[in-house]
Every structure is written in C-alpha cells, then in structure tokens.
Subunit: 645 residues, 2 copies
C-alpha cells in the first residue's frame, strides 16, 4: 500500500491513534511555530522567512542550513497525512497559503530552492555533493504528492512537476546535461512517488538515471569539485565517497556504508525501482544490502548507524550501545526500505524489521507529549558520561526541544501521521496484513472492494481479530504476517483452526478461500517475555541479554532500578511477570522479575580487589525502550548482564 491508498485506512488503534493525535494537536502546530521562529530558547529556523525572501516579499538574507527548505516540505507532508485522517479546514487553509508562498518563490524556469535563489544565485547545481539541492527537491515532491492525495488539489503537484521537469532538462545523459546525482539521496524515491501520482514515465526514468549514475567512474563528485576548483572534503567524508554510498555503482554494493539516512533513502528507491522495472541485478543488490544491514549492522531496536562521525554505518557486528548514533531518521528510513522490500517480495523478514523499527527505534525519538525529540537513540546511557566525555557528546540524556538541524521531528511526524500505509497491501492475488494495528481498511481485490476491520490491544496483547467484508462473496487470498518473534501462533477462521504450517510461505500464512461478509479471522500471537542474545561477534553485547516481549524491546531505567544499572543480572531462569499499568507512560505493559544485583554495600574505597562476586536478589522493572526518558532523567540500558545459571 502506498500513501495514495492511505486514504482508505482509518486507524483506531489505542497505541498509534494516541500518537497521531499528538502529532495533529501538538507537533504540527509546534513545528509551524518553529518554522516561523516563534519557539523561545530554540535556534530560529528562518525556513518560512527564506521563502518570503525568495519570493521577493521580504528583505534579508538566507539563514539556516542549505537544506532548510526541507523542513517546510516535511511539515507540509505531515499536514497532508493528518488531513487525510483528521480533516481540518483551518490547517488546510494554512497549508494552502504556504503552498502559494512556495509557488511565488519558484523561479520562472521552474527551479525551486531558497538557498540558491537568495544566497548563491547563479551557482545552481555546482555542488551536488554537499548542498542537498536535489534532496530538498525530493522532499518538496513528496509533500506535494501527499497533499495531492489528501486534498485532491493540484496546485502543489503542479509546482513540483514544473520543478521536476526542469531538473529533467538539467540532468541526463545528453551532452549538455549533468551526469550526476545528489550527495544526499532523496530525489530518487520522491520521483517514483511523482510517477505514481502522475503516471508520467519520465519521472521514473529520471529516478533510474540518478540511481544508475551513482558511483560510476570517473567520479561525478570529483569532476564537479574540479569544475568549481574545490579540493576540500568535510572531515567525515572519505575520499571514495562511501559516506554518500557513491563508492561503487549501486548494483555492485554489498555492505551498507556511510551516512545511514542517505543509505536508507537510496535502498528504498532501489527496491521500488527493482519492483517496478523487474531489474534483477538491482533486486539482488537490495537483498545483499538488506542482509548486511539486518544481520550485521542493526541494533535490536531497529536503530542503525553505529557512529556519530558521518552519522554512519561502521562495519559488521560493531554495535556499541553507548556511543551509537542510531538517528531517528535512519530508523524511519529503515521502515521505508522494509516497506519497499515488501513490494518486491513478501517475506516476513521485511515485515519483522519494519515492525521492530516502528515500535522501538523510531518512536523513541519523541516524548509522549510531542514536545521534545531525540536525534540520537542510544541503547545505554550513563548521564555523567555523556556530560563529561567528548566522545559521547552527541548522546543527549534527555530529549531536546528543537534542533538546529531539525530533520528528525518532522520526519517522525510524517511517519506517524501516515502509519496506516504500512499496515496492509492489496495485490492482484489478494490482501496482505503486514502489521497489527487496529483499523478499518477498504481495498480493491480482484476487481471488487473488500473491507477489513482489525482490532487488538497490540503491541501489549497478541490477540487480533480481523473481519473480512467483501462486497459480495468471492475467492481471494488474505495473507497475514506471522511475526518471527512468536513461538506458538494460532489462527482460526470463523472459529475453525487453521494448520499454519500447511499454509505458510516465507512467514506469511496464506488464507485462500471463498470469503463472505463478516468472516472472522482470529490470530493469537502469545507474547512471552523473552531474553534475547546477540550474535557472539557483537563484542559489545557479550554476556548480555535484552528483554523483549512481542515486538517491544524493553530497557531498565534508573528511576525504576536505582543507579548503576550494570550491577543488574538476569538469567534465563529469571521468572518474569507482565502487568499492564494504565497510569504509567500512557498505559504500558511493564515487566518485573526477581533478578540479582551486585552487592555493593560493603565494598569500601578500593578500586580493585580480588574477585568475590556477591549478588543479592532484587526486583527488576523493565519498561519499553521507546518510552525511556519520559520520567526523571537517569541511566538507561537495554542490554543487561547475564548470570549463567
């Protein structure tokens, strides 16, 4: 399902609906204030003002990052998704005004970018490597497509089509065109969306061009740098452009490298192109990269990007929890990619990772009130260390109000507002259920409309009821993802047990039958508390276990467990209890258990002494990782020491 079809999914899930309400009621208004420099104590964004200046309606200088325009675009995209689920004429009017402003800032030839219009006129497309010019274009296109689907209004879509048409004249294989691509991938996936919205094949072709050009020799970034007489490189950029995933032609890449968000956006476009064009070499590259990311470089939270320098991947099994970058945007990008891999082929490996990122490493980026954000999502925090060590300076121990580089908050807003598009997909052969989010959906299957109604208390309980309502009785398939974390799934259709093994393929159970109105599927996914271990080559997690229940990864916080969380130990025999606490953190399943702690009572002043490990039993309390830091600040750990029993 893409965001065109989002209109046909209504979320009424307690877990997600609450978050969507926060996006609508708090985040979107807050971000609007931010874009207009009305947030006290936060760095001014200047983003709207830049458009006014570019439109000739205000005087002044461009301010902000070269990609400042993208904040406005991401805000508009979130607004569009919100308008789909929660119509709001006032908000729509405001968005229309912003779109008109954007239109007035567009140049006569279709070009649209306030940095190059205001600050460096005449220098368009001279530094693709560093200046995010096509990245901004991509976000503008994504926003316009979403707004078109949300409102049916073509104004914004027309603006970005004119811009894309202009880009199509500048870039391409022709003699007077640029054989190049952007330093920060984004335009590639945006052009595919534009293709879907307009049916204009040229946009798909242009996306493909950018993907195909990447990493070719002689290297575009070098030719481009020579043209502008510039031999500088930012300290985090390597001379082979792994940082930009431009070190090799994309079909030859097999390890995720460089800036994690850029990688995700590129892999997303690659997977979609492979699916649309049946490009097998591209599909194979996607699968190799997928395996590398998810089997070698992904945190248990769905976080990616192991180091701050370059906000980047490092190497296989390098997954430190306390110095990771694990940017919110990177996990969001992983959701995009997983979703696109599901378009390429139905395999729960993709759905499982999509779920892992959605329920853990993405939403950890925002507090419950929607007012504070994490850019970096560590798996282990010792506040004193983050405050005192330069190498942990990027790890914030409490969520921040707003960032000077404000990519994550609006990205999370658009993801949350559009979560409906990830739940189902409608294919020729039938309907797929990828996620368990209470909702009403309407899809077209084999020429007729089918309604699906899903209810559960997911992610806290694994009992899911789906009601299938075709317009009339018909033969088609309903396929459900059986999550990889579930050991004993059970499924009934109209109370008749289905032998799952018999109908499973790559983690999806295929229910192919004659469906009548009101047929009821009941899926039971027992959620046991599980202790998870990492591949032994993840040295950082040696001798440590993480608590997971269903799709939710848990953590220990100091507020519940005292300071020095490294003193805690669990064993595979530790008995755990799950209790839903309605008043805690917006309602949450809490896990407690009698574990053990190092006994520090009589230690004394010595720094080192002969081993005499003494532990005392103590009650441990774990809360979902994505909710950490919503109470008193303090220590946090995901990976807990294992006591071998």
């Amino acid at each position: 399902m893409n965001n065109q079809q989002l209109k046909h999914v209504r979320i009424n899930d307690r877990f997600w609906r609450t978050r969507m309400d926060v996006i609508r009621d708090v985040v979107i208004p807050y971000q609007w204030d931010a874009l207009n420099d009305r947030i006290q104590d936060a760095a001014p964004s200047h983003a709207i003002e830049n458009f006014r200046i570019a439109a000739g309606e205000a005087a002044g200088e461009f301010h902000g990052a070269v990609f400042q325009d993208s904040d406005v675009a991401k805000w508009l995209e979130a607004v569009a998704y919100s308008l789909i689920t929660d119509p709001n004429p006032e908000l729509e009017h405001l968005a229309d005004e912003v779109i008109e402003l954007i239109g007035r800032a567009q140049q006569a030839d279709g070009y649209l970018n306030t940095y190059y219009t205001v600050k460096e006129p005449g220098k368009r497309f001279t530094n693709l490597r560093d200046n995010h010019e096509l990245y901004c274009a991509g976000h503008m296109i994504e926003a316009a497509v979403a707004y078109f689907y949300a409102t049916g209004k073509r104004r914004f879509l027309d603006i970005v089509c004119r811009f894309a048409d202009y880009i199509d004249t500048v870039f391409g294989p022709g003699e007077h065109q640029i054989q190049g691509y952007d330093g920060h991938q984004e335009i590639e996936l945006a052009l595919i969306k534009l293709y879907h919205a307009t049916n204009e094949a040229k946009y798909l072709k242009l996306s493909q061009f950018f993907i195909d050009e990447r990493g070719k020799q002689p290297h575009f970034f070098e030719r481009e740098a020579a043209n502008r007489g510039d031999d500088s490189l930012a300290p985090w950029v390597d001379p082979h452009y792994q940082y930009h995933q431009a070190h090799l032609p994309v079909r030859e890449q097999d390890k995720a490298m460089g800036h994690a968000v850029r990688a995700m956006y590129m892999y997303t476009a690659m997977a979609q192109l492979a699916s649309l064009t049946k490009d097998q070499a591209l599909a194979e590259a996607c699968r190799r990269l997928w395996d590398n990311v998810t089997q070698r470089q992904m945190y248990i939270t769905g976080g990616i990007g192991s180091q701050e320098c370059g906000e980047s991947f490092t190497f296989d099994f390098d997954l430190p929890g306390d110095t990771s970058y694990t940017e919110t945007c990177a996990s969001i990008g992983l959701v995009f990619w997983a979703h696109s891999m599901l378009q390429l082929e139905k395999d729960r490996a993709y759905g499982d990772v999509m779920e892992r990122a959605l329920y853990n490493g993405t939403i950890s980026g925002m507090d419950l009130e929607g007012k504070k954000f994490f850019y970096v999502n560590p798996l282990e925090v010792w506040p004193q260390s983050c405050e005192n060590r330069k190498d942990k300076q990027h790890v914030k121990t409490v969520r921040q109000k707003w960032f000077s580089c404000a990519c994550c908050p609006p990205n999370l807003a658009r993801l949350t507002a559009s979560v409906g598009q990830y739940v189902y997909s409608a294919e020729d052969e039938g309907v797929y259920v990828h996620l368990y989010i209470s909702s009403e959906a309407e899809m077209e299957v084999g020429g007729q409309k089918v309604k699906l109604s899903q209810t559960s208390e997911y992610p806290w309980e694994g009992d899911i009821t789906l009601t299938v309502t075709p317009e009339q009785e018909a033969n088609f398939t309903v396929a459900l993802r059986i999550p990889g974390w579930c050991r004993q799934p059970r499924l009934t259709v109209n109370d008749q047990t289905v032998d799952l093994d018999a109908f499973m393929k790559k983690g999806y159970v295929y229910l192919d039958r004659n469906w009548s109105k009101g047929d009821r599927i009941h899926l039971s996914l027992p959620m046991e508390v599980e202790l998870i271990q990492s591949h032994p080559s993840v040295r950082e997690n040696s001798g440590k276990l993480a608590i997971q229940r269903g799709p939710i990864v848990y953590c220990l916080e100091e507020v519940d467990n005292g300071s020095n969380l490294q003193a805690w130990m669990v064993s595979i025999d530790t008995p755990f209890t799950v209790q839903f606490e309605d008043d805690l953190l917006g309602g949450v399943a809490v896990i407690t258990g009698m574990a053990e702690r190092v006994d520090t009572a009589d230690w004394g002043d010595e720094l080192y002494k002969p081993a005499s490990s003494r532990t005392v039993p103590a009650r441990l309390k774990a809360v979902p990782y994505h909710l950490w830091g919503n109470r008193e600040p303090g220590e946090m750990v995901v990976w807990i020491r294992e006591k071998h029993s």
Copy 2:
C-alpha cells in the same frame, strides 16, 4: 632516593637490566637519529636543527611543535642516566657537543628557547597558557641536573642556572614581574631538582611561587589572553582551565582533572614541596588528589587519563578500556608522583601504585626491541574497530615508529635508565626498600655507609634475598614494603622468622636491629594467580575480571586465544597454571587455565535470537599486559567476562 643518589645503585636485574640495555643500545641512538631527522618514514623532528638556527649557525625556519626543544632535553637526560650505569666516552662526547650547541643558542640574558628565539622573537612569555615555554625550561633543567650528577661537569648546569635566574627575574610577586605560570606544568618539579643540585633556595622559592599562583583569581590566563587580544581557546580546553589544573588554587583541589601528564607533574612538585617545606595544606591536597586518582580514576595497569579529548581525566569510575587515552607519559608521571609521595610519608599505597605503573602501564609503551612505541595504552583492542571508528582513531593497534609529538619515547627512556632511583631511599632512621629489583646499593645511614645487595627473579618469582653490609656493626632500621597484592608474605632475618604483623606500619615492615656485615633478609612473597574485580561503580568492568599475578597484570591476545576475546569466560574456580617460558617475549611467566568460551559453531546468520547460552571448555592463555602487541597484531583484552559459578 633522588637521581643524585642514583649513582650508588647498580641494577643487575634480569627484567630491568635488559630494558636498560635496550635503552642504551637502541633507543638512545635511535632517538639521536630522530632528533637529527635521519629516520626514514618518520616525521622530521628538526629539534637539533632548531638549536643550530637559534645559535646563528644555520639558516632556516623553526620547525616542529612549540615544545620541540624538550625532546633534546629528554634525550640528554636519558643519556645522563645511561652514562651513570654504563660509562661511554663517545656518547658523553656527543652529549657535550649538544650541550655546547645549547649554550650557543642561549641568549645574552640567559633566555633559552628556540621557538621564541627563531620564530617569535619579541614575544617571550606572552602565551604561557599554550606555548610550553617554561615546560621546555623545566626539561632543560632536569637534563642539566642529571648530567651534572652523571659527569660532574658544570657546563650544562651553569647554562640552566643562568636561564633559571633570568626566569626568576621575569616571574614573581613584584610590580614589573609576571604573576603567572606555565600552561604545562614541569618547571615546578625541575626547579626543586635544581635546588637540590645547587642548594640555591631561590629555585625552591620560585617553584613554590608557580604552585601558589596557579588558579588564583583574577585568572592569569585571562589577563594574559587579554594582553595579547586573543579570545580563542583550543577545543579541548574548558573555560575554567581544568585542563591546566588551574581552575582552583592547588590547595583547594580534590579531584584530578584535565590533562593527565600536566596533573602528574604538578602533583609531583606539590608533594615534594610539601615534604621540603612541611606545608600541611599542600600535603593534604596531595593526599586528597592521590585518593581520587588511585581509588577513582586509575586503570588496573596504572594507566590514567580516560579520554582522548584533552588527553585527560574525566570523572570518578569512568574507566573505559577501549577508548581510554592512558598515555605512557601519564603513567610515567604517576611513578614520579608516587615516588614523591613516599618522600612525604612511608605508606605502601604509594609504593604499590609506583610498582603497578612501572610493571604495566609505563613499559607497555615500548616494544621489546626499543624501536616502536605506544603513546596510548588501551586495555581492550579490537583492531577493526580502531581502524574504522573515528572515536577510537587515537588507539593504535600496533606500536608506531615515532610520533610527531614525540613526548613518550624519550620519557620512557629516561624513566627506564633511571629506574634505580626508585628502589631504595635512605632516611635519617634507616633504609627503605620500595621495590624488588636485583641491585647493589650503597647508602649513608646514621653517618655510616651501608651496602645493600638484593637478588630475586622478580617480577616472575617473589623470593627476595637482601644482604645488608654496614661498614661496621650498627643499629639502624631496614624497612621493606610488603606489597598490597601479597596475601601471605613471610620474612626471615638470618633464617629467623619475623612476625610481620608485629613490625608493620602502613605496609612497611620495620626491621630495627643491630646489623652486621652479611646479615641476610629473606622475603618470600608468594605470587598467586588472582582474579581481580573493579569497584562496582566502574560500569565498564561490570561482570569482568582481570588476571594478576604479583605486580603483573595479564591480558589475552588474539595470537594465543583466537579472535573475539569477549567470548572467553573465567570463574573464580578456574584453575590456573603458571609456567615460565624462556623463549617467549624475552622470558615471561605465562598463565594458562581451562576456562570457557561461548560456543559459536552453530550460530547461523541471525543477529538476535532467544538466549540459550552455550559454552565450551577451552584453554585460555594470558601474557603480561606490558608485552602485548609484540607478536602478530590482533585483539587484546585485560578484562575478561566472569562466569558466575
């Protein structure tokens, strides 16, 4: 014992004598080549050339760091110590020539610093904060004092006295004097040495002045910066000058902060001043700082400085093994300080730490051949991580040939060449034995000469024999340090058992008796293999144990134990065997034991799965930490996972 008395200690210890030979035969000639830019593939030092230019005997520019002169000084100091133990007319002649060159580079008023003479004439003493001017002076003074003791020649001493006299006119409480101090402490301890060598009280007073001025408000560094119209600060310098230990008057300091080497040099001077002047407030500050460093901020190897940024201390219990700085020079500084604390009061706490640093974190800085050096001494190395992660870029996985900032190699050379001075001390009441290093010593006790002869296979065996030979029978005390690591020490005098408890005070056993020629003390210090744990607040070492035997801290290397050293586990029941291997690493006691390893055989491709810890028994082999990296490069760990049994 100070280096004046070094002349009266002859080392014939297998362990140290080998290292002293390497210093004499390899390091001193190699460093001479380095100072003269004759090492291929190493950054040119230019240090000797700078003196030629300053002397007007060569043309050209100053090259190198502002403290380049100190490399020449440290080389001369090492040469001096080497000449004491191994007379070498040729080397002495070479040193004399260098000293003459230094003399010719000295300015008419006594000033001596090639940077300010050649590169910034007229700017003397305008940027004490950053430019190491008095630091270089201090090293020149230390070298000159050592050379005077070694050769009896006054030429070099006269040069530095003229320089010190000049400094004494520039700095002081007077109206036209500078009320300031150097950014890098060193002159303070050097002036005390100069005072001992010359008996000139003004040098002691000047040292005291520098110590007393430090940290006073209004802040000298700010006044100085304002004078030169400079408001820049290096990124590692904090605005309160904790980096320089100038955030508070020294008597008010109670936590070690900032650059670890600077701290050590300052604390060394403070302890010596406290001892010489009976300044109780200063002594108290020394004790508080000592407790903070050794009970809160010291690695088990005697390494100090937990982070690369600022090469500095961080905060209590922050002791990561893989990102530490633990500079060789800082551990050397800790030896100086411990030695000075022993002058202040006899307590084995000081001797134990001196021994810990000497046998572990200092000598790890050099390879067995004396040709390669570590600046940073990590306790955990995963080469792939150091090569790929920016936050571990400072951690080298193999020793390096020479450094552009070449402080550590010559510092280690002078420490090793002068190790004799740390073994004994002669006080009014008798003789102290602080270290167990086979040697012959001659001391004056109560007006008569006493010879001490010490033999052992230390640090591999703990059986020590001391023969006491006074000129004639006399009453005096021989006090021996009973190392804190020893659980069951035994001592006999002429085969008669001494009740240690009855004669122990602060870890020293006091043998007060009538000594005759040839009286024999036999001290037995059984060396058990011990598993050591860290204070529970050292989160980095939670659930981990280190292997120690006697004063030697052990480590695992990949060459002996395969890759992924984090897969190893030991328990307090693991049976260990000690075997001396003559052919390994120059002769070394190796520790082996049947431990356990995580079984990784059937893991598969998954990154995360439910816990099912399986371990297999495997033979672990540990070698002394200070010798790591002398064979094939690979992983190394000091702290090994504990399996609770």
